[in-house]
């Protein structure tokens, strides 16, 4: 096995682990590694990253259905916007300017990171019996040992960010979880574990039209590097899923906020 293949495997493993812990597809990590460190073209890196995103989403499907934290109704509603965004992005792969796209992404990530740091100690849960609305939910919280409820707020904002995440999925190969999870948690009142699980469900569906477009463009090549990345993701996801119950929500929030800050810095200052 060559260095490039080992790098793809390692980056995939890290991305998969993050996927299990905080619900991101890991494209934000995979694209730079595949593009800069391994030397794939940006389009090939994007396509391989999307295969990794789908592997993350597929890994979540083996958990018992009732032990999954995702909010299916919220996911369906937001998917309408993220899939529309992905289709728009896929149709305009060559139209958008790279630098303006990265600037928008960087500013959005910076705002989300700031809100996450401000709300590190805030828990998005309500007492049992509260009005949770149409999109809210209830789940067993391992941190408190009891059942908790939550209500989804600012749905139009969630729809707008999901649309933007869909566009970015097609254009720069990220799963969109890096925007969706902090947005749902910090701005929409969704507990982190639910936000992460809902994001994993969403990123897989959103990646389908984007990958179809990349595949049709021939960006997957002979599929080899994409496969190495995806194998890494599958291994990393299992590791992350083992660690996840042991990691307190606050630590996950710190990891997520730090990650979003790094991404913001990368996109704002290294364009």
């Amino acid at each position: 096995m060559q260095t490039a293949e080992l790098l793809a495997l390692g980056a995939g493993a890290l991305a998969g682990c993050l996927g299990a812990l905080v619900g991101i597809g890991g494209g934000v990590l995979l694209v730079p590694v595949l593009n800069v460190a391994i030397g794939l073209s940006f389009n090939q890196a994007t396509a391989a990253s999307l295969v990794g995103v789908l592997a993350t989403s597929s890994s979540a499907g083996i958990a018992p259905v009732r032990r999954r934290f995702h909010n299916a109704r919220l996911a369906i509603l937001l998917l309408l916007f993220s899939v529309s965004g992905a289709m728009l992005g896929a149709k305009n792969l060559a139209t958008f300017s790279d630098s303006s796209l990265k600037l928008i992404f960087g500013v959005t990530a910076a705002v989300i990171a700031a809100v996450m740091f401000v709300r590190l100690n805030t828990r998005n849960v309500l007492p049992i019996g509260s009005d949770i609305g149409v999109l809210g939910g209830r789940f067993h919280d391992d941190d408190t040992g009891g059942d908790v409820e939550y209500r989804v707020r600012r749905v139009p904002l969630a729809a707008a960010v999901s649309f933007a995440a869909g566009v970015l999925t097609s254009l720069i190969g990220i799963g969109g979880g890096i925007l969706i999870v902090p947005m749902l948690n910090a701005l929409c009142g969704v507990p982190l574990r639910v936000a992460a699980a809902t994001s994993v469900l969403m990123i897989g569906v959103t990646a389908v039209p984007s990958l179809a477009a990349r595949w049709a463009n021939g960006d997957l090549g002979d599929f080899h590097m994409a496969a190495m990345t995806a194998i890494g993701v599958l291994l990393g996801f299992q590791l992350g899923r083992t660690i996840s119950p042991l990691a307190p929500v606050k630590s996950l929030k710190v990891v997520m906020a730090a990650l979003v800050s790094l991404v913001a810095v990368q996109y704002l200052f290294r364009r």
């Binding site: 259905v65 009732r66 369906i76 897989g204 569906v205 179809a212 599929f223 190495m228």
Partner: protein, 96 residues
Amino acid sequence: MTASEETGFDRARRTFGQVAYGGVVLGLCGGVLLHFVQQRAMASLVLALTCGLLMTVPAVNLLAVLVEELRRRDWAFAALAAAVLALIGYAVMARL
């Protein structure tokens, strides 16, 4: 809720998830192995089929959500799920 409270439909969903996951693991490992033993054409074919399977999994999950909403007679969310399925179906078919 615990795993023991799973309904037949839940078990079917989980079984599909496990079978698909197994297929993905086998396909990826098999394809990479074939690549290393210089069977490049066969490797590409196996990996292409595996990518197709990876793209099918989210669509089937979405279909399961649609069925669940239909069983609950929640027509609004069932319509939303059907709309999303139609969108990704259109997006994929347009690229074939």
